[in-house]
Amino acid sequence: MKPRQQRMLAVGLAALGIAIAAGLTLRAFQDNMMFFVEISDVAAGNYPKERNFRIGGLVVSGSLQRQEGSLDVSFDVTDTACSVPVVYTGVLPDLFREGQGVVAHGRLDNDGVFKADKIMAKHDEDYMAPEVADSLAKHVQDKAKAVPTGGPECESNDS
């Protein structure tokens, strides 16, 4: 092959490969993209319906409940303003603790309970998932300023 043709071949193949990859990528992206939704938004009903998303916050102290001898657990997750009940079946991560940060993957059922299929706890003492930290900081600030967040008043539900 002449160098010129070679280059054309290379460019052609590369373009073809990239086009196929880009097409497949974009299609698959839609299905696998998982949004992080703040708990206050979940409580207000602003969450993707009929698909999985992530929530994150602190595990409410004293909310962890487990049926004896069963793998089913339930607990509440809060962003300090609102909270959402979560149910999960399986082994909880080592770093899962009441009062600590947690991220859950799953979807909301019709009763407003978050059915988690994956639970992730923070990985070490210094570390909290950035989106959880952001969400908590925002709500703690709002509380300090005592400015209504515009969302639903959740404090009453919690107590």
């Binding site: 092959m1 590369a14 992206f29 998982m34 001898g69 082994v91 570390y127």
Partner: protein, 654 residues
């Protein structure tokens, strides 16, 4: 006192690094031999001072010097000695110092084994490495000083993260860093070639062993990390498409492409500017990986604590390196390309396809890793891309890749006539297809299209890779054998085959089950019976644990006893799962303790993982292939010849 010596040595190393960068580069530009000679001396000196600094930090850990902030945060009196040493690189400051030490060691190695390089070229290579070292030393001294004092000193330290207290993790970061940093050598060779405007086949021959060596270490480092995640994180997965895993995987993919492209440049003098671009990309991706880990902008197991100044520094450094290298590339590369042609059916074509597919694979991983960041910046929405996407997307370039590997190995350079080629391929292709059906259907009892494709592709590569190895072994006595390069290449591809087989089988036939289990009770998973014999308390040096004794039986016959633990580390009060694994070449049986469920029972995660060892075995074999290829005679003969000539020249004036 000793920590201050370490700090001081680091500053001296910086001044030597500046020397090592500026003087030889200027010398090479002016043709001043005296200035060029500074390169090797400065590199040696810089290495010594960094080694002193590193030794000081190790000393601080071993002697429990809790007046040093970094030690106080990451060590503890009762920490076993091995982990006191590995704690040195257990967090940001120390691992950065180790990065710098490894860069200096690579530079020293280049300086020592470059006697066959033209003086000006060696000076440029060492000078460029010096520039990189300046960047990293500044980073350490300005933003991440490991020797910072803590006043007043702490009585005891905060302990090393229990996840990191594991022998596998003690050596995973060093291996990975040797690989990462090793690509800086290929980068420096590329920059030196562009500075001098000379790039011929000899250049490729110089660059190849260094690149292969770095790639080999990176392969081992990634495999070890994957193995560690499997047994230590207690999840039983071997790859999570975690951002930081991806960060080490992308340089590996590009490094693999670079090795293949260098082969073409050496043998045929082709793909020159492409090779340069890959060398630049491989190192840039290593830097990008560092940025992702250090800045904490990405959610990951590995991400260290967030620090915007560090992230900003490393991003600036990345920008300077990438933009600088690309500007040089745009200016010089067009002049380098040669006008040699090759046939449509030729090894060059296959290597070209290999490169295209590997680059596409890298691009996919890059898109998946960075798109959450891009989308957040653009829309404020926080998304994540799950492993299912990566798994699916990654197959698109890799399935054709593994099929083409088997063909390309048996194709001649320049041009290959079709009929003998087809004859060579015919029998192995049929055998691979048969095996592709037989392995899933008769060994594991189920088959699907993807399974047949995976198993057939694995068998295909294994057969094609074995042909040259068998030939080489047969010809051992007598006629000129097959070169180590060819054997190394075949062994590495054999590793790919084993890896593909392992991945296909374990992802299709692995069983994972979370169950409740109490002492005396037994449950069945994947045809095996797991009985909990009892629970006991055990004590370690810095933890206490509950240990379960679990007996595994198959058809009432005893198979093994595993002892998974739930550990409580005393200082950090953190819980850790130590899985009990019965490992075998054909399968792993994996039991991890979950939580206490009240009434005396525990949740356990039980897994059956067929052929999972092939994944790491495959990586090991790939690395072995690299090692064999590096030992090829042509790299050494040349060196010896040149060394002799240099020796003679040195004697003459004396």
């Amino acid at each position: 006192m000793i920590p201050e010596i370490g700090q001081f040595a680091l500053i001296l190393a910086l001044s030597l690094a500046i020397c090592q960068a500026v003087v030889p580069l200027v010398g090479a530009h002016r043709g001043d031999t005296g200035m060029m000679r500074v390169a090797r001396t400065a590199a040696t000196g810089q290495f010594l001072f960094i080694a002193v600094s590193f030794a000081c930090l190790i000393w601080a850990f071993l002697s429990d010097e809790f007046s040093v902030l970094y030690v106080a945060n990451h060590s503890q009196l009762s920490l076993p000695t091995l982990y006191k040493v590995s704690a040195v690189w257990g967090a940001h400051e120390g691992s950065l110092l180790m990065w710098i030490l490894i860069l200096a060691a690579w530079t020293l190695a280049v300086a020592s084994f470059s006697s066959d390089l033209p003086e000006a070229f060696a000076a440029r290579v060492i000078g460029v490495l010096g520039l990189l070292s300046v960047g990293f030393l500044l980073f350490a001294i300005l933003t991440s000083n490991p020797f910072e004092r803590l006043v007043p000193a702490a009585a005891d330290g905060g302990d090393l993260n229990p996840l990191l207290q594991d022998p596998g993790l003690a050596i995973h970061p060093p291996l990975l860093y040797i690989g990462y940093v090793g690509f800086s050598v290929a980068f420096a060779f590329a920059i030196a070639a562009m500075l001098s405007g000379d790039l011929d086949r000899t250049w490729a021959r110089w660059t190849r062993p260094w690149t292969t060596l770095a790639w080999m270490f990176l392969t081992l480092g990634i495999a070890l990390g994957s193995w560690w995640a499997y047994y230590e994180l207690g999840w039983g997965g071997w790859w999570f498409w975690d951002a930081v895993e991806n960060a080490s995987f992308m340089p590996w993919l590009i490094g693999t492409a670079l090795i293949h492209s260098l082969a073409v440049t050496e043998k045929r003098g082709l793909f020159k500017s492409w090779t340069l671009l890959l060398a630049i990309t491989a190192f840039s991706l290593s830097l990008l990986g560092t940025f992702l880990v250090r800045s904490g902008i990405i959610v990951s197991v590995h991400a260290f604590a967030t620090d915007p100044t560090r992230g900003f520094f490393i991003l600036t450094f990345l920008a300077i390196v990438v933009v600088g290298a690309l500007v040089l590339y745009a200016w010089r590369a067009p002049a380098l390309d040669s006008d040699v042609g090759f046939g449509l059916l030729s090894r060059e074509t296959f290597l070209l396809l290999n490169n295209v597919l590997l680059v596409v694979a890298t691009a996919l991983v890059l898109i998946g890793t960075l798109s959450p960041l891009v989308i957040e910046m653009a829309t404020g929405g926080k998304i994540s891309i799950g492993p299912p996407w990566f798994n699916a997307a990654f197959l698109v370039p890799t399935i054709p890749l593994v099929i083409l590997v088997g063909m390309g190995m048996h194709t001649a350079w320049r041009t290959q006539s079709a009929s003998p080629w087809l004859r060579t391929l015919r029998f192995p292709a049929i055998a691979a297809l048969v095996l592709g059906v037989v392995i899933p259907l008769f060994v594991y009892g189920r088959a699907s299209i993807l399974l047949v494709v995976g198993c057939a592709a694995a068998a295909w590569i294994v057969i094609m890779a074995l042909i040259p190895i068998v030939r080489a072994l047969r010809r051992e006595r007598g006629a000129a054998g097959i070169t180590r390069s060819v054997v190394g290449m075949s062994v590495a591809h054999l590793g790919v085959g084993l890896f593909v087989l392992g991945v296909t089988v374990v992802s299709a036939f692995g069983v994972e089950s979370d169950r409740a289990l109490s002492p005396g009770e037994s449950i069945e998973v994947a045809g095996y019976e797991f009985e909990m014999k009892g629970l006991s308390n055990v004590k370690g040096p810095n933890f206490s644990a509950i240990e379960a004794e679990i007996e595994i039986r198959k058809d009432a016959a005893y198979v093994a006893t595993v002892r998974p633990q739930k550990r409580q580390y005393l200082v950090q009060q953190s819980l850790m799962t130590e899985a009990g694994i019965h490992a075998g070449l054909d399968k792993d049986l994996f039991v991890a303790l979950g939580d206490q469920l009240g009434n005396g029972s525990w949740s356990v995660r039980i897994q059956y993982k067929p052929l999972i060892r092939f994944i790491w075995l495959g990586a090991l074999v790939m690395a072995l292939g690299g090692l064999i290829a590096i030992s090829d005679r042509r790299y050494r003969v040349r060196e010896r010849k040149e060394a002799k000539a240099a020796g003679a020249a040195a004697e003459a004036p004396a």
